[in-house]
Structure formats: structure tokens, C-alpha cells
Subunit: 559 residues, 2 copies
């Protein structure tokens, strides 16, 4: 059954991901009986999903509406905006739209997934309006921490939406045009019905600062440095990579780029017109040939990812690059919440070897890609939206953003949650329904719900361990062999005395059952579980999961 | 074999815990053939030890020397200084020394562990020297974020050690005396051979700030607040609890204290002369009877601990206290690294209900208990140590502290690691040996190494899942029944088709073996493991652990 009546004249906004979390952005808009999707991102797994690589938005709602889905607009190339495409595109299967650099990154992903020839991907020009379903869409270039960040204007008879995407204001972004404030003012003059915008840095009362300032500081700092200099940053920050090239030039150092994602970004950037002024790069194999004070290495791993270049170098298990006392590692990056411990360990590994570590806490060598309140204020002044819907944030960010919009005189605000169906109209914002949403986990090669039983079992096992009991019964329910147990993850799990104790507990428990009860698998499982747990709690203070495998005489055939 | 020769005239320092980590402080000093221990702390477990509550220092070295261990000096009552006592005291079994409040906290722990009548615990007076083994010991009161923080002077013929403990400078600490700078200057005049000191906040170039400033700000803030006000903080911060009482008084609110550790600190404080000016406290049961703008609640959970009062209140599953829109929660605390995600979730839960959240990022409502570089400098100027050994820090903190001591003109510095045996003498610091150290985990009721196999199995299971295979063989090695499998933590683990596939893989693998090979348990285990893993990798992209339980005809007895 279709959700959207044909020619439905309501203008709807439905966040599927990114409202209530920072990551996996996926938003839907509907008008005149058709949907468009904006962004299709993933997020990284946390301790709730051990052994899982990626978290993806559950798109089952739009899968049921896919015949009315006109297309997917990608605002920019960060993983939290494009990362889910190769995993879930087939579920809704619409055309994709992106500017050239973003499209190049998407192509790389599709290629890896064997989908390059399957997914229709259209390259769009910024500031050139085009029709998509019921909307006239226009990509508005905005500064961000990747090349080709864009807001979107979505115009329809019901009014104009300005979907900001991820953005900031930067008078000297170094890559891309400065903010087209005249366009935004003109848009405000025409009238913006609703602004749907980035809440990430709403707790910063100031402006995010300029990439040019970072460049100036990095140049100054590296010019004063002896020995080797490594700078680690987010590979997707094209401006920062160009900055690092400028730093190399200004400090008379050769430049080397290390790490797979650096290479990928370099290739994507070159293919789309960036990195024109890059010097000849030193190959990883030849870094050792360059005098220590004549090399600048840009590398991946600014979040402490264990397999990234800088972590391997810090641990001393990188094949080609070894750092020594007096060398310098600059983290031109922020610490993403949750990575504090991993990064602390990396800083310690470097410090132990007397390598100087400089982070954004020591000097202004990183700048955020998201607007502080000073920038949000400016944007509200330009566009003068009738309504504001904060997205791209956890609950507290969205609440504060809505509150701030109120302080700035915006009449209508709503704090959305994933799945909310919000009607946008001249009379304001109305929560009219909610649709199913959720998180999916890429577990091995399978996509499962984050609430999947397998994941729950793993979490439980990681805390309490697991005992598997194998019992063999005669026809009459008598034990035909000593129970065999597999103890996993228990203290004293390798002590024979403890093993024997558990076997005795199982035998004893089964012994006390009526023989008829032993004919019931459920009853046997219960007794084994209780016996093992009771003994484990008493002996080792743990309450393990217990699984019982039952084999009966009728299943056994001896020759 | 004894490590220390009788009447050995070397002055030795051996950190067993706390050098290279923030937590589980345990330090040893030796002179004249005898040892003393300073502090005996624990630390909290992390993702490397899932399901573990506490991490404890491995004291096996001093266990071998316990006949020469004169006593254990506790500098103050924080868990990272006294928390391991009830778990490991019996291993070395010496007398304990502490000032009255610290002793009261230790008594509480000993009582819970049933050790109150077993452990000799001596209450010492600050600034009154006493003999312990080869040292003349004196407790020097220093400000810290708990009542009765102390540095220790340890005097022997070889010279004077000043062991700072955890400390800061505070002109208005509100609890305890201000820093006895004259004593420290006098100590410097006499000559300090070595200062062994707190490195926690060496990356703060300034001073930590005063508790009085926090009190002033909290009073001002709460006076301007409507509705309910909750303040959450570290329960052990007696001065802060007194501050909260002062805030209640100044804002005309009744005070309630919630949470078990608040009650424990209150009792310990009252028993030792603190909390004299506390107002009559409102019982948890009667909070609901007080008008919303007439109550101030102090509660536990400032690190987002899921079972603490504030987390339960925020989730709406506290029996007696419910917050509403417009209420206020103040986090008078810092975020301990690693707790960012949990605390972020707590902030979100509160924000969703339109409860105002104020943290130390918004206002100066918390002050650290550890010295910034301005305070370290002052301490060096007072005590003028010949040598400095930084402790109480991760590698990067210790490195920076040693470097800073050098900048301040201290001649001899060394960066210790747990287990280092460092000889302290007029000619400087010398690393002369290292002894076994490590971390122990309290897993259930068992104390195991953090590298215990059970823990490794749990970590592995949490990432990859586990398959247990039960096989029954005839005398000749033929399968006598269909293999039974228990699938734990696998995607598709509940799909019959997938289960059947794995059974077939096992049967197929066993089938291909020579029947003589099937008589070897090792060979059968190998084949089962390879068969299950190969199939799992192919089907679901996971590489589970595989355990095989083998039962042979000779073990089975049918009637």
C-alpha cells in the first residue's frame, strides 16, 4: 500500500537518518505524490555492535515507496552522506545526482561493489537549477571540510526549502568559491519556507574559523621545525591536503602522501580538477632517501585507526617509515568523540619515543567544517526562513539549534526524530505521522538489524562467557555418557577441577529429574542451564550463557 | 630468593602501578633492606576487558618480599589510591597507615570484604613525623579533590624524598588547611633529594583554579534558576558537597543527597568531623513534597554510570524523582576520557525532555584536583628537588613533566615505567633493573591476569561469534549421528538453511578424512574448525571461533 496519495499537495519532510545522531544522514522530501532523497550516509559502529564495521540507515519505508522516488541528491562526499550507497542502493534503486568530485568518490565505491554499470549517476553543476520530480533543485556551493560542499534549494509550488547540507562560512576556504551570500540574500528576498540545517557545532558560540588561518599557522610552525615532520588529517579534506603541499613548499620540504585513503582522495581530486599545484610527490619507498629535515609526510590515521599509517609508524611496525627522537607529528584534526582512548594510546606511543606531538589543543592547526552560532545567525539573516528544522545532530544539538533559531526570531521550529513525518506549510511545521526507521549493521557480509539476536549474543558472551553442554540420552532418558562441556570465556576455564565441578553439577541436576522429564528437550535445557549457572555464580561469580546440545539414542546409529 | 640484601644502603624507587597509566597507583620505596608501599589503587576496566569490573596492580614482586615490607601508606582516599586494598591486601599483608577520613573510607571497604578485624590500620596525624621501617614519614596536607589529600616526606640517611601524592594549590580550598608553603620551603632548605610527583595535568599551562571560585559561580547560577536543580559531582569531593550545601542555603532551597556513594561519603565525613554545617537533609522519599523551586538535589552519576541516580532519572526509570521541562541539571565534574559517548547519551536524554544541562564547558562549575604547570613550577621553587620522578600519568604526561622539570632547572629526571627499579642518590637517578608487573582483572569473583585466556576468548567471541560442534563417532571413526551445532553470535544464526549448510560442511569435511584420522581428536577438531570457518566466511563473511566436543562409542553406554 502506497504511503503517498497521487498528487498529494502536502510538502513533507521525513528524516530517516541523522536526526538524533551525528552520522548516517538520509532525508526524504515529498511533494505532489513524489519523493526525493537527500544523502545516503553510514556511521561507524560502537561497543553496542562489536565486530561490526558499519552502521546503515534502515530504508524499509522508502523501499515500499520506490516507484515514487524521483532520485537521490548527494550534497557532498563525506562517508556520513554517501557511505551507505554501495550497501543499500539496490533496496530503493533510484538515480543519483552529485557534483563532479562527489560523483568521483561515489564511482570509486560503486566500482568496488561491482555496481558501477548498474547505478545511474548524474553529474550536476552547482548554481544550475534542474528538475527532479516535483522539485526544482539547485546546488549552492558552501564551504565545508571537503571539496564541493553544497546546500540545496528545493523549490515547489508549496514553497522553497533550503537544505543546508554540512557547511560553514569561510572568507578564504582555499578550495571552492566563497559563500554566495548574494544568492542566499536573494533567496531570502524570494522567501524561504523552511531551512533544514546542520546542527553539529551549535554549542560553539563563535565562528568556526578559516582554512587560511590553519594554513598560515601550519606554515609558520613547520618552518621552525627540525627533523621529520608528519601531518595527519582527514584524507577527504582536499583544502587541507593542498595546505600541506603549501607547507611543504614554504618549508623547503619534499612531500609524501601515505595511506590508501590519501591516495584515493588524490586520485579523485586530480580526476576532477583539483591538486593542480601539487609538487612531485615522493614515493613511500623513497622517503628514507630524503634528509630528515627535508621531508614532510601527510598520512592517514588522525583518529587512531589501528591499521592506518601513523598508528603503524608509532608502534614501529611500518615497513618503510621509522620515526626517531626529535621528529614531529602534527594532528591537523579534531578528536571525534569516542576515540579519546585510542588516540591517547597513540600519543603515548609517540611520546615514549620522544617524538613531538602537536594537536589542535596546542595550536590552531585544525578548523571545523560546521557552523558555530555566529555563522548560523548570519545564515538566518541572509535567508530569513519562515520555519527551521535542525538536522545533523544528536538530540541536544537539535534542541539547542531550534532554541537558537527562536532567539534569532524564526517563528516556526520543530525538533525532528528519525521517522517523523513533518508537514511544512505557511502555517508552520506539523508532526503528522511517524514511519519505521532503525539502524542496520554490516556484520561480516550480512546486513542485519543492530538489534539482531546474533549481536545480542555476542555482547552477552563478551561480558559473561558461554558454556555449551552436550548430553547423550538413552531411550528412557538415562544419561548414556558423561556430559561434555565447552567453556568459553570463563576465569578458571582451563582448570580441570572446575570443569569436573560443572560436569558433576549437570549430572546431578539431570539425576534429580524424573526420567520422563528428561525426555523433554526444553526441560533438559532448563536443568542444564540452571545447574551450570548456579555453580558458576558460586565458584567464579560469573553468570554465563548456557547452550545445550541434546542427542538421543534414536539419532545414533552404531554399526 | 630475596630481592633486597639485608641492610642494603641503596635508596630505591619501584613503581608497580600508575607510571604509564592514570589509575591503580602503587609505589614502592626501599632503604636499608626494607620496603614501604605508597598507595594501593585500582582502575576501571575498558573494552579490552569486557565484563570485568576492576583492574588491579599485579603485586607478585612485593609478595616475594613481604617479610621485608614495613607498611602501606595511603596518601588519600580516592579509588585509584586505596581501591585495590580489599582485593589484594592478603597477598602482601602489611600494616596500613592513613589519616582519619581516608582510614574511614578504607574501613568501609574492609568491612564489606569481611577484613575489618584482620587488617591492621593505623590512623596518623598530618605534620607529625613517625618511623616506618627505614624511613621517617610525615604526612603533608595538600589540597586535592577529596578531603585529606597528602604528600609524604620520606626521610632516611640517603636523603629526603617528597612524594607529592595527588595535589593542587588552592588559596581557598574550603576543606583542609591551605598549602603549608613554609613547611615546603623549609623542606627545600633542608634539601630534597627527589620529588616524586603527580603528572595528571601537566598539559595545563595554568593553575587549576580554586574551589571557592566554583562555589561562588554555583551560588550565582542556582540563585537565578527556576524549577528543580540537580547537581551531580564526584561523591568523594567533600568540599564540593559542602559547596552544594552552601548553594542550597544561598538559594533558599532544601537539600537532598541521592545515591549510595553520596551516602557513604556523608557517613565517612560525618564520622571524621566534616559536614558540620550541613542543613537537615530531605529524604529521597520526600523530595516530591517540596515545591520544585525549593529543592536542590545532589546526586551521583557524573560520569554517566548507567545505574547511578542521574542516569536513572534521565531515562525516567527512577522510582521517586522525575524531572520535567525547565528543570536544571548541573554537571559539576569533568568528563573522564572514555566516557564521552555515555555522557553524550545522558545529555541527550535530558535535552529530549527539555531539561537544561550545564557542564564545565558552559561555566566554571568544576575545578581539577591536579596541578597545572603554574603549580608545578611553584612546587619546584619551594622544594628545589635534586631529582624529579614524574608518576601518576600516561607516558605522554610523564615525558612532559620530566621535560618541564628540566625547563625549571631540575638537574636529574627520569621517566619511569611500572616495574622499573630506580636508584636515587646524590649523583642522580639510575635505572638499575626491572621487576615483574602487570594488570590483574577482577572477573566475577576471580582475580586473573588481563591477558587471561578467558578474557581473550570473550573479546574474540564478541567480534566473530562462536560455533560449538558436537560429534559422535563409532569405534571405527564413522559418524554415528548427525553433528549437532550451537551457533552463537552469527548473523543468520537462527536460519535453518544456514544451520543445515554448516552441518553439511562438517559432515563433508569428516567424510573426506581417512577413517584412521577420525580416531584422532586433534585431527577431527581441525577438520571441523576449517569446515565451519570456510563455510561461514563464504556465506556470511565472518570467521567464528570453533570448539568441537567429541564423544566416541567407548564413552557411551546404552542399556
Amino acid at each position: 500500500m502506497a504511503y503517498l496519495p497521487a498528487h498529494d499537495k502536502r510538502l513533507l519532510f521525513v528524516p530517516i537518518g541523522g536526526s538524533g545522531e551525528i552520522g548516517m544522514n538520509l532525508n526524504l522530501y515529498a511533494y505532489n505524490g513524489q519523493w526525493i532523497m537527500v544523502d545516503c550516509g553510514m556511521m561507524f559502529a560502537d561497543s553496542y555492535t562489536p565486530g561490526v564495521d558499519l552502521i546503515l540507515p534502515d530504508t524499509s519505508f522508502i523501499e515500499g515507496e520506490k516507484d515514487k522516488l524521483a532520485g537521490l541528491l548527494l550534497t557532498h562526499g563525506h562517508e556520513d552522506h554517501i557511505g551507505a550507497i554501495p550497501y543499500i542502493w539496490e533496496r530503493f534503486g533510484c538515480d543519483l545526482y552529485a557534483t563532479k568530485f562527489t560523483a568521483e568518490l561515489i564511482k570509486g565505491k560503486l566500482k568496488e561493489a561491482g555496481l558501477l554499470d548498474v547505478v545511474p549517476l548524474h553529474i550536476v553543476e552547482p548554481r544550475k537549477p534542474f528538475e527532479l520530480g516535483p522539485f526544482e533543485v539547485c546546488y549552492i556551493p558552501l564551504a565545508h571540510s571537503i571539496a564541493e560542499g553544497h546546500g540545496l534549494t528545493l523549490k515547489c509550488d508549496a514553497g522553497t526549502i533550503f537544505h543546508t547540507g554540512d557547511w560553514k562560512l569561510d572568507d578564504e576556504p582555499l578550495i571552492g568559491p566563497v559563500c554566495p551570500s548574494a544568492d542566499l540574500t536573494a533567496l531570502g528576498d524570494e522567501g524561504v519556507l523552511a531551512l533544514v540545517g546542520d546542527s553539529t557545532n551549535v554549542f560553539n558560540p563563535h565562528s568556526s574559523g578559516s582554512e587560511a588561518e590553519v594554513r598560515k599557522n601550519l606554515i609558520e610552525m613547520v618552518q621552525g621545525m627540525e627533523n621529520r615532520v608528519l601531518i595527519t588529517t582527514f584524507a577527504s579534506n582536499v583544502a587541507r591536503l593542498e595546505t600541506i603541499a603549501a607547507v611543504a613548499k614554504a618549508s623547503g620540504r619534499h612531500l609524501a602522501l601515505m595511506g590508501r585513503s590519501m591516495q584515493r582522495m588524490l586520485a579523485a581530486g586530480k580526476a576532477t580538477g583539483y591538486f593542480r599545484n601539487l609538487p612531485t610527490l615522493i614515493d613511500e619507498d623513497h622517503i628514507a632517501d630524503i634528509p630528515r629535515d627535508k621531508i614532510l609526510i601527510a598520512c592517514t590515521g588522525c583518529q587512531g585507526e589501528p591499521r592506518a599509517a601513523i598508528s603503524r609508524i608509532a608502534r614501529g611496525d611500518h615497513k618503510r617509515v621509522h620515526l626517531a627522537a626529535g621528529d614531529n607529528v602534527l594532528f591537523s584534526s579534531k578528536i571525534i568523540p569516542g576515540n579519546e582512548i585510542t588516540l591517547g594510546a597513540l600519543f603515548n606511543d609517540l611520546a615514549k619515543n620522544k617524538i613531538n606531538v602537536i594537536t589542535e589543543k596546542d595550536a590552531f592547526i585544525h578548523v571545523s567544517g560546521h557552523p558555530g552560532r555566529a555563522e548560523l545567525k548570519q545564515m538566518f539573516e541572509w535567508t530569513r526562513p519562515h520555519c527551521v528544522i535542525p538536522v545533523h545532530g544528536e538530540a541536544r544539538h537539535l534542541m539547542r539549534h531550534a532554541e537558537f533559531a527562536g532567539e534569532m526570531g524564526v517563528k516556526h521550529r520543530i525538533v525532528p526524530q528519525n521517522g517523523d513525518v513533518i508537514e511544512i506549510s505557511k502555517s508552520g511545521l506539523k508532526l503528522i505521522d511517524d514511519v519505521p526507521v532503525g539502524r542496520l549493521a554490516l556484520d561480516g557480509s550480512e546486513i542485519v538489524s543492530v538489534d539482531d539476536n546474533g549481536l545480542a549474543e555476542r555482547r552477552r558472551a563478551s561480558v559473561s562467557g558461554v558454556v555449551t553442554v552436550s548430553v547423550i540420552f538413552d531411550d528412557d532418558g538415562a544419561l548414556a555418557a558423561e556430559p561434555a562441556l565447552a567453556l568459553l570465556g570463563l576465569p578458571r576455564g582451563d582448570q580441570i577441577a572446575f570443569y569436573d565441578m560443572l560436569v558433576a553439577a549437570v549430572e546431578n541436576g539431570l539425576d534429580k529429574m524424573k526420567s520422563s522429564a528428561r525426555l523433554s528437550d526444553d526441560d533438559v535445557e532448563n536443568v542444564c542451564r540452571i545447574a551450570v549457572r548456579r555453580r558458576c555464580r558460586k565458584e567464579i561469580g560469573k553468570n554465563p550463557g548456557v547452550v545445550t546440545l541434546i542427542t538421543r539414542r534414536e539419532h545414533i546409529e552404531f554399526r
